[in-house]
Subunit: 339 residues, 5 copies
């Protein structure tokens, strides 16, 4: 589920963001504590090895190696690479959110433009709405692991009421080697066209508004699918991951406290705990975790989109709007500012 | 309230921006003076401790620690992280402003396309307009703490005239576990459809233009809601905050003036007041404050959007436009350039 | 007036941009010469003070201070902060240009869709067009100091022929505590609706196209207004200004040529004129001037938008197009490629 | 074919991205192993030359040269140049993906708005759909080497059923020195207009929706063509390539391990294998490879778009939707939530 | 003419970009060789002066000056400034390309919606199309030096068949102190409206689609004009140019090889040819050349848009589409996948 904290930062107050540092859910600590333990353990192991097990000349070699690693650790452009990469990932993530398909626009139109409070009218409206929800469900099954777990087969889709048995038969009978998520939209278009012929939809203007809106919905669906299908090129992700991992590998050796008696420059203090290196670990690994979390926002991370919730909400709300609420208007009254 | 200063910088003049440095409201000083006092106090305390209370060998250790901290303080990529993060926050903030729902487009259409100067016509136009304002009010209650304080319950919404008692009853009777801010739009669509049947709206072209505009309005509303619901991932905010705080923590120790007699490189001057460190505090903490202020622009900061003002303005203006001004045209006259 | 130089750089030639360095109008020199003189004078004063008035020990202290300032001057992330900030300002500036309201789209539609070459038809077309120009004038009065100077009161607006006396009376009679720039659009919508009833506009399709276009125009207007109303947060501008000013303050002391006999590192040359520091002043102060110039493009800078010219052009051209040119078609002839 | 790995990174887990480091297809290793071998070989050759073949004074000269190269290698702004360039390339690549022409929107409209289940109706729908597919095929032949290989001549296009012989004759007869990919769209428009006259398309509203959608499709096609025609300016690509190649050239000499006995600063360790330089090679060359892969996404790289698959899918699916599925609706049934 | 090289980089191959380094047309070499010769000559002159003509003490002074210049050369933030500036220029350049006006969308609509294969029908369609082409020609004359050279006066426009003599007379008779490129669009709107009255355009839906498309075309035209009229502020371009020129000026002195016997740090090697400085010249000057080339893409550079070709293509193609191809449909046949 999404971690919402905007109400906590509504006002810029005294050290406003510090409260955010104490959250656990969706936090850097929760995401990173395992990696942090591994890193700290390795660092400690190397430190212990250096301090207690190496002979004098081995120590000298290690010290040179450490200085060498430290020098190059600073040259790795982690900040820069991460800055550009995370910006890219965040933009994609937000675009995916903005393109989540919501049926609200369609349900307003169907509720007001498909006439008839009789059973047949209700049937048309509910069926149109169901087709819309069915399409997004089929798309979500492709892109979201959480939704796929909930609807592993078409039987589950039928069982959940998104599709009737008869529809499924026709759906299965269509011969195509390709994905068939567009099928319910063809049905939608044809059903709307039929309703127009039968006078349930008044004229072409109403019909085309509906079809136009459906096409918008389809574009959202296919864009979501596109984001899943064509991700950030693997090479880019690998380059960034390599840079960060290399940096930490270099730090493991290069940021050891060396024997202060040897007089190496910048090594006249032995704190045992490399506080700034650990903090750097948090910055850089945390920044990379931002990317890891957002690169596929349809997983089950704390910050991922709640697709299963969306599916339920959309079906419930849209059937309510087109059926029960159709032409069920509150009595009009004069408002309190009348005259 | 928003701090508008554009008229002050209309022309690029001699040291044009310096005037801005002297403003208080919405300024960096007002936002930061508390943090600044804390920082300066801590710095002074450490300075006093070092100068008067530490023994010789403790001083030597502190000096080494200070140099160590200073070295790493410079390595923390605060500028870079802040640059990318603030750019992200500013973009989101501006998009939220651009998507504030204004009913003006709808009120022009309703005023010119819903016919009838009699009471029933007025009632339809006012009711349609009220539904529009009601929806944005429901959204603002979710995203803005200021609006929520003003309308803590639905009773307040009814009391302020955005909803009639009867509407509220129907609204409450709708069974849905989800947010119901979309309900007035279903009413809007159905009422418009009814008006079309009764001839108050001339034809489907007029009707669809209205519904289309309503759907635009809905998109603004839901986008605002989306920005509130799915914020910048908590991890990102934590990474940036950690980086800035760590930097200042390192500065507290690393930027102390050390005993000039010890001959440490770059430490042959004791100014007592670390003027550049304090200025850096202003840059970086100020930059972070930009983010804190903008990350939720619906709070009560000096620079936040005036949502309560918007709500009042929108209701007042839109009722005026669709009721009193409907078909109340000024007499047409020849303008002064005629022939 | 905008400084157009694109024709000078149409082709990439030998040292192509050097010609631009010699322009005066809108140039960095014109914008910066005053600040430059102040900076150079202060630098000289400090230099003279150091060379001729300080005693030996004061000189030693000044030298240490200078080295201290120089060290921190380099740490101030001016480039980075300016880079992000100027990018933001430039984007906003361009968006404001793109959203300048031009009535051309509306005048084509009014000219071709509002029928009748008689006086009444002309009156309708001219009045519609005038309302459009009136709205943008009202907006420009709010955002542009130049326009406000030209039209300080509504009397001037009436006097310039944008509004008739009768319209002004109705305008003033409207009770609203809020800005009323939207009023002419309500009139526009109602007048168009009236023209539709009277058969001057053929059908709802024509009418809605007009209203739709009017709403686009309104969006441009309100976006302009929004850019003026909600500027870049003051804190951000202050952070950047502080950073640049601090940098130059640090340079004044830190970039002095020190006594070469003292053997300070990097101080074995005394050029008297700090050529590179002066050039840096031009880069950074010039970069900041870019922001100063563009942050409010409706002032009277060399590079600001010529809003008063726009207002005149729009009124003249649009009345011409909807009146004199209405149905005044050139005789159709076969073009020279016919068959 | 596109390398999809988003399902592998659905959740941010313990060292989440490390699994990506082990992939081969589309990976940095597959793309870079040849360059890496060349680089490593050259490095080794120079190393061997320095260690075993140079005389003492030659060694001294080489050492100075190496230090000189190393100093300047660090000054080359590879990171920065690559960051800006790759961002540009990635944006263009994604825009090309988003503008891939999919006929789905058109096929829904044709299926629901072009009437008649008789043979003539089928013929109109199939022909309209074929024209759409033909246009995108003609565009793909221009921009994609893979598609061009499959359809080297117009005969292949006719043979694959995208065009009839008769159409090809008319197509060839059109005298124009310019590309003729727009021709099928003129046919589409005229055929739709004809269908409107014959009553197969009900009215102008339906017709214009179709034509509007067709124009959208054309915009995608022409934008794809534009991206191919006007690439990133050659100079920019050359600048970046030069920077990266120069950097590695400087590294070949500058990153050699020098004789530790000579006491050069930072050269007191001889590891034989320059581990960090090799890793840097992977970062920078990998980053450049991202650009190489994406600069033309219509080639045959692992990560390029599968245009041939698209062509087949689009034809098969769109004919299915407008013919077999036309008005072939599943029987409407009450869904399981009815009442 | 645009330099297209995308087919050369379709696949990411072994040292894929190196082939691009060997191109001449539109290349960095062709653009820079003159500046390079100047730079190298100056460098050599200074080098010769230093080595052979200066006396001992002058040499010492020069050496100090050189070190001083070198130190500050490194501080000039050329990379950063160029990165932000070139990104801005490239975005503007691409937006100009995307907004080039193509009449294809209009010609499809005119071909299918303006009825009548008789001479009058042809005349209307051709005249409408000519107006469209005329407008873009008028715009291109303003923004493109190449087009202006070809059509220096309105006589040339008439002579090339874009305008008839009679139209020109009316055009000239219009009294307006402002540019008149919008005039043909008023004619277009009025002619379309006339055709609607005469039944050549069926109804308002068809008419409004045409007018809407015309307005899109106008927006492209006016946006092009806007990009030409309001360029990147002169100050910004001057700042960047100054930074780059200053950098190279500093390099001329600062990157000289100094007497190795003097033992200056980093000056123990005399290579005579400053290979890395020359390469840096290529990077930075090349990067600036990218901006020079793209800042006005309507010149006659190798990489500029071929506006004259566009004008010819558009006229030829659009007349062909609306006249000869109007309702000239290929006989419909069953495609090869029928059943």
């Amino acid at each position: 589920m999404t971690v919402t904290y905007s109400s906590k930062v509504a006002n810029a107050t005294f050290f406003g963001f510090h409260r955010l540092l104490l959250k656990w859910k969706g936090s850097i600590y929760k995401l990173l504590y395992r990696e942090f333990i591994v890193f700290a353990t390795l660092y400690t192991a190397i430190s212990v090895l250096y301090r207690f097990f190496l002979t004098g000349s081995q120590k000298r070699f290690f010290e040179k190696l450490s200085i060498y690693c430290d020098k190059y650790a600073e040259q790795i452009p982690v900040t820069f690479v991460l800055g550009f990469y995370v910006t890219l990932v965040v933009n994609r993530w937000w675009n995916q959110f903005v393109n989540l398909p919501w049926p609200d626009r369609l349900m307003f139109l169907i509720s007001s433009c498909v006439q008839g409070r009789d059973e047949y009218g209700r049937l048309i409206r509910r069926t149109l709405m169901r087709y819309v929800n069915l399409t997004s469900l089929l798309i979500f099954r492709s892109v979201s692991t959480a939704v796929y777990k909930r609807f592993p087969t078409m039987d589950h889709v039928v069982g959940a009421g998104f599709m009737t048995r008869y529809e499924r038969k026709i759906f299965d009978d269509l011969k195509s080697p390709h994905l068939k998520y567009w099928v319910p939209f063809v049905w939608f278009g044809n059903l709307a066209s039929k309703a127009r012929k039968e006078g349930r939809i008044r004229d072409s203007v109403d019909l085309q508004t509906l079809l136009n809106e459906m096409n918008k919905y389809r574009s959202w669906c296919s864009l979501l699918f596109g984001y899943d299908w064509v991700g950030i090129p693997l090479v880019y992700t690998q380059v960034v991951t390599l840079a960060v991992y290399t940096f930490f590998f270099a730090c493991l050796i290069g940021r050891q406290f060396l024997d202060t008696d040897q007089g190496y420059q910048g090594h006249d203090l032995d704190l045992y705990i490399p506080i700034f290196t650990l903090l750097q670990f948090f910055f850089y690994a945390g920044w990379l975790k931002v990317a890891e979390q957002l690169i596929n926002p349809f997983g089950e991370d704390d910050d991922d989109f709640e697709t299963n919730w969306c599916i339920d909400r959309n079906l419930q709300v849209s059937l309510l709007a087109v059926d029960e609420m159709h032409m069920n208007l509150p009595r009009m009254e004069k408002d309190i500012y009348w005259n």
